[in-house]
Every structure is written in structure tokens, then in C-alpha cells.
């Protein structure tokens, strides 16, 4: 048999063998799609948990963050003293804007997680 003929015949046998996988191709595709959806759900859940943890940690480390912000903006501790005043004098107005910061920080991390998905 000529070499070229054998190559062609070999390719045909491979194609014929591969065609046998077409009969359950839809089922295989569905299995893969379900796997992808499951992987996406797990990734989203993991990111959300990490985002919430990041948000809570950020709130608990608010003094350090405030100091950093102060030095970054060159405000010489002004934000720090405002926050400290608000914490020491928990009037309704102070509690309100501290809560707003808390919610803002958590929202930022959740939005970040959502964006990653």
C-alpha cells in the first residue's frame, strides 16, 4: 500500500472512531456545563466569604486605616481625632456616620467580590 493512501486511511479510521463519541455528546456537554456552574458558585461563595472577612477586619482595624489615610492625605491626624471624638462621644449623629462608614466599607468589599464574578 502506498504511504499516502495509508495516511489517509489512518486519518479516516481516527475520524470514524471519534464519531462514536457524538452519540452522547449532548450529555457530556451538560455534565461539563454543570461542573462549570458548580465551580462558579463555589468561587463566588469563597470570594464573598473573603470579602466579608476583609470588610470586618477593615472595620476592626479602622484606627490604623484612619492613621494611614491621615498620613497619606497629609492631614496631620485630623481624621484620626475626628473619629476618636466620635467614638468617645457616641451622640446620635456620630453613631449615624460611623455606621455609614461601617456599611460603606462592607459594601466596598462585597461590591469588589461581585465584580470579580
Amino acid at each position: 500500500m502506498m504511504k499516502q493512501n495509508f495516511d489517509t486511511e489512518l486519518e479516516l479510521i481516527f475520524r470514524e472512531a471519534d464519531a462514536a463519541f457524538e452519540h452522547d455528546g449532548d450529555q457530556f456537554t451538560r455534565t461539563v456545563s454543570n461542573g462549570v456552574r458548580r465551580a462558579k458558585r463555589i468561587r463566588r461563595l469563597t470570594l464573598s466569604v473573603f470579602a466579608m472577612m476583609g470588610g470586618v477586619l477593615a472595620v476592626f482595624h479602622m484606627p490604623a486605616i484612619v492613621s494611614l489615610l491621615d498620613s497619606f492625605l497629609g492631614l496631620d491626624g485630623q481624621i484620626n481625632s475626628v473619629v476618636a471624638d466620635a467614638l468617645l462621644n457616641p451622640t446620635d449623629a456620630n453613631v449615624e456616620w460611623l455606621s455609614a462608614i461601617f456599611v460603606g466599607v462592607i459594601t466596598f468589599f462585597v461590591a469588589f467580590a461581585a465584580e470579580q464574578n
Binding site: 495509508f6 479510521i13 481516527f14 471519534d18 462514536a20 463519541f21 455528546g25 457530556f28 456537554t29 462549570v36
Partner: protein, 191 residues
């Protein structure tokens, strides 16, 4: 617009075939439907490749599924070449990883396959079974080279990239593998 075309049930026969690269771009932006289309289009080639590498359909399907899952997570790294080549290279690497992970288990399977070779590749199931039996008798390197080059249709260069072997080695494995297959298939009365 493209999505609407491939959404339409008659698209399989009447609508123009959407190129793989477009589907991959859509999949990279999170379009699951486009990715499903790619899986449907290439699953037979990938599963065929893996069956010939593993010699076992269940293992091949497991590796094929994990290869497509990996493809989904890495789809943004696809650079627009031949998608079949990209996914088959990924599947081949997944096969190597799985092989390393289950080396001892696989060794046992190979021993079983050797002792029950007639049962694993029965002779009375047509040309594809004859091919499987013939491939099983080739050395690993020749089988891999022949399956990737002729079975999947990759160029010698693409096989060299996928396997990490030098181009000359790939060419020599393909040539020797084909020659051995010709003899073996001739023995079965195929070639």
C-alpha cells in the same frame, strides 16, 4: 446578534458556523452558551484523544471533563490560534498530571490491561477497535505522537509544543509509529 444566531434551533444546519475564536472570546466574557458550543464541537476529538492515551473510557471522560473545566477557567489565555490545538494540548497536559497523581493506580490498570488485552480491546468491533489494539502495542512516545499528529490533526510543531519534545524527535516518533501501525493493521487485515 451572534448569540441569537447560535441560539436558534435551526442554526446547526442553516446558519453560518460561528468560528471557534469568536466563541472563545464570548466565553472569556462569561458567556456559558458559547462555551457549551465549544465543548459540543470538540468533545469527540478530546475524548478520542484521551481514550487512546489512557486506554480506558471512564478515565478518559473524567480527564476530558476536568480539561474542559480548566479550559473554562483559562479561556482568557487562549490567544486566538486553532482552538482544537489549544484544548488538546490542555487535555494532554491534564492527562500527564492525572497520570502522575495516580501512578500506582494506573500501573495496576496497565498490568490488568496487559493480562486481559483481548477483553479490553476486543477484535470484533470494527476498524476503530483494530486501531485501538494496534495503538496499545506501540511504545508510549510513538502512541502519543501518532495520536496527537494524526488522530487530532496537530502539526509536528504543535505536537512539539504540546509535548515539550524537540521537533526532530516528534517527526521520528510519528514516522516510526505510523510504520508500526501499518504493519500491525496489516496483520489484522485492515491496511
Amino acid at each position: 446578534m451572534v448569540k441569537n444566531l447560535i441560539d436558534f434551533p435551526m442554526s446547526r444546519s442553516s446558519a453560518p458556523r460561528v468560528p471557534d475564536s469568536d466563541l472563545a472570546t464570548m466565553a472569556a466574557s462569561g458567556d456559558m452558551f458559547a462555551f457549551e458550543k465549544l465543548v459540543r464541537r470538540h468533545q469527540a476529538t478530546v475524548r478520542g484523544l484521551l481514550v487512546r492515551l489512557t486506554g480506558n473510557q471512564a478515565d478518559a471522560d473524567d480527564i476530558a471533563q476536568s480539561s474542559f473545566l480548566k479550559a473554562w477557567s483559562k479561556i482568557s489565555s487562549y490567544n486566538g490560534g486553532q482552538f482544537k490545538s489549544w484544548i488538546c494540548t490542555l487535555a494532554y497536559r491534564e492527562f500527564l498530571q492525572e497520570n502522575r497523581r495516580n501512578k500506582s493506580r494506573r500501573h495496576l490498570i496497565e498490568e490488568l490491561a496487559e493480562t486481559n488485552q483481548v477483553a479490553v480491546f476486543p477484535a470484533d468491533k470494527g476498524l476503530s477497535r483494530d486501531l485501538d489494539r494496534a495503538l496499545a502495542q506501540l511504545p508510549d512516545s510513538q502512541r502519543i505522537a501518532v495520536v496527537l499528529c494524526i488522530g487530532v490533526g496537530l502539526s509536528h510543531n504543535e505536537v512539539a509544543v504540546a509535548t515539550g519534545w524537540p521537533l526532530g524527535t516528534v517527526k521520528s516518533h510519528v514516522a516510526r509509529g505510523k510504520s508500526a501501525l501499518q504493519t500491525l493493521l496489516g496483520d489484522y487485515g485492515v491496511a
